[in-house]
């Protein structure tokens, strides 16, 4: 029982880190600009397809595709933000939802047209395929890598937001956009950079996700639900909140599937409802 609990915690934490990478960007941009970007999962899906394409068709090593997935998702997000999204910042929430859900449909159709509807296999390097056992718990190398990557990203994000002038400007803009503008902060530029970074992280998350959850054109919709759950449970514009929520939800999901297979993924929704009844603004949210 204890051994299986250790395994569930480890696998759940690894899965949670995947959810964290996929969702943290949306949390920050939603909190900063009140822009509901349901297309966030599409950037994750793009990252996955970039990795698959670079590995299968161009023979790139897996690790080299990760920064490429980040850059591709970030670059596409800048294009979409400049061409489409920025025009609806002042629009109502329904307009934003309709616009971005439309982008998701287009991305799903585009992915199906280019790569087909089948699952995309990915061949991990040999050094990621093994595992070792410690205190009866099996630790897969790839999941350790996933956890390590997410922790490094978390540290970089926290350091960037807490200890740099740009980070302080982003936090100031989240606190009070009008005042930030009135004091000389280019809020639009800060948002565009943050949006690109957040989308890039989703791309990285999508790339890392393939080996754990697979990749097909439904990815953008399937993980949109998880991403929204993480953001609502963690609270808007909170890296710590997203980290905590992703951890709790990742472990809940794996534990639910392991101990109560009949319930499937139901436990994750139960946790969400419980947390939001306790703290409607999320674990670390302020509004």
């Amino acid at each position: 029982m204890l051994t299986s609990l250790g395994g569930v915690l480890f696998d759940g934490f690894a899965y949670g880190m995947l959810l964290f990478l996929l969702s943290v960007g949306l949390s920050v941009t939603l909190g900063m600009m009140n822009f509901i970007n349901l297309a966030h999962g599409s950037f994750g899906m793009l990252g996955g397809y970039v990795t698959v394409t670079l590995m299968d068709r161009l023979g790139w090593p897996f690790l080299a595709t990760l920064p490429a997935a980040f850059v591709a998702a970030a670059a596409l997000s800048v294009v979409l933000e400049r061409l489409l999204f920025r025009h609806s910042y002042r629009a109502g929430e329904l307009d934003q939802v309709l616009l971005t859900i439309g982008v998701v449909f287009m991305s799903v159709a585009s992915a199906a047209y280019i790569w087909g509807t089948v699952q995309q296999p990915v061949q991990l390097p040999d050094y990621f395929t093994g595992s070792f056992t410690f205190l009866g718990v099996n630790f897969a190398y790839y999941r350790l890598f996933l956890i390590g990557t997410a922790l490094v990203v978390t540290l970089l994000l926290v350091a960037g937001l807490e200890w740099t002038r740009f980070g302080a400007q982003v936090r100031a803009a989240v606190d009070n956009q009008r005042m930030a503008r009135g004091l000389g902060i280019n809020v639009n530029l800060a948002f565009a950079i943050t949006f690109a970074l957040g989308s890039g992280l989703a791309g990285l998350g999508g790339s890392l996700a393939i080996a754990m959850v697979g990749l097909d054109p439904d990815f953008a919709f399937a993980y949109l639900v998880y991403v929204l759950i993480v953001v609502s449970v963690g609270g808007l514009a909170s890296i710590g909140g997203s980290f905590a929520a992703a951890t709790v939800l990742g472990i809940s999901d794996i534990a639910g599937k392991y101990y109560f297979p009949a319930l499937g993924s139901f436990l994750i929704y139960l946790v969400m409802v419980g947390v939001l009844m306790w703290r409607p603004a999320g674990l670390f949210g302020k509004r």
């Binding site: 002038r165 302080a168 400007q169 936090r171 100031a172 005042m179 930030a180 009135g182 004091l183 000389g184």
Partner: protein
């Protein structure tokens, strides 16, 4: 005569369909200070928001050192040298006192160190978050934050509102130092008309969104009848004489 720093020409502005300011023209020469007076709701704060670019301007133009900034984005106006202390202080609550100052600081006379010397209380609270400050401390921080942007013109929107008398005295001392000693150009919107007139050289009175009276502050302070008529301020006999 000093160069004109800011000039509003026939400005008509408001929010959405509502027009708040109508045909407002105002010149603010460099190094001088102007009090904007008027009863509640006449458009004093809207005037400052319009200068900063936060309202919908329907007619007229705004010039900054001769440059037309009518359609310039607010952050670019701030970088040109417009400093703004908002009516509700609007401190960044999740930033520390020091971060509130450094986040928009620009090079110049007013460094963060100089701001802490001006307000020693803020130096003592430098690590406190914005939302942990008292009203008086928040107002000190709002003024210090605007100063560290090293503006050429400081727009102060009711900086003394709702503060304890001792804090009002301290802030009035700071504003006097800025206007009289430092030569900072200031536009001061203030409900405390007596204090505002004592701190500034010129005054304009707004009524229903339009400027209805212009005078030297000293002269207006001596005109009890005008102050009563436009602002509802009843001065004691000695002051009004």
């Amino acid at each position: 005569m000093a160069d004109t720093l800011l000039e509003l020409k026939g400005v008509r502005a408001g929010y959405g369909d509502a027009v708040v300011l109508d045909d407002v023209s105002l010149e603010v020469p460099a190094g001088e200070s102007v009090a904007v007076l008027g009863r509640n709701g006449v458009g004093k704060s809207t005037l400052l928001l319009t200068i900063m670019g936060f309202t919908e301007l329907r007619r007229g133009s705004i010039l900054w050192q001769g440059e037309d900034i009518t359609y310039l984005a607010p952050h670019l106006r701030a970088r040109r040298g417009l400093g703004w202390v908002a009516q509700e202080r609007e401190i960044f609550p999740s930033l520390s006192v020091e971060e509130n100052l450094t986040v928009t600081a620009r090079p110049g006379r007013w460094s963060v160190k100089a701001a802490f010397e001006l307000f020693p209380r803020l130096a003592e609270r430098r690590l406190a978050r914005g939302n942990q400050l008292s009203g008086g401390e928040q107002q000190m921080l709002a003024i210090a934050r605007a100063l560290t942007t090293n503006p050429r013109l400081l727009l102060l929107d009711e900086p003394l509102e709702g503060l304890a008398p001792i804090i009002v005295e301290e802030l009035a001392r700071v504003i006097r130092r800025m206007t009289a000693d430092e030569g900072t150009t200031v536009v001061l919107v203030e409900q405390h008309a007596e204090i505002a007139l004592g701190l500034t050289e010129h005054a304009v009175v707004l009524e229903r969104g339009s400027i209805v009276h212009r005078a030297r502050s000293r002269e207006l302070l001596a005109n009890a009848a005008l102050l009563d008529r436009y602002i509802g301020l009843k001065l004691p006999e000695a002051a009004g004489a």
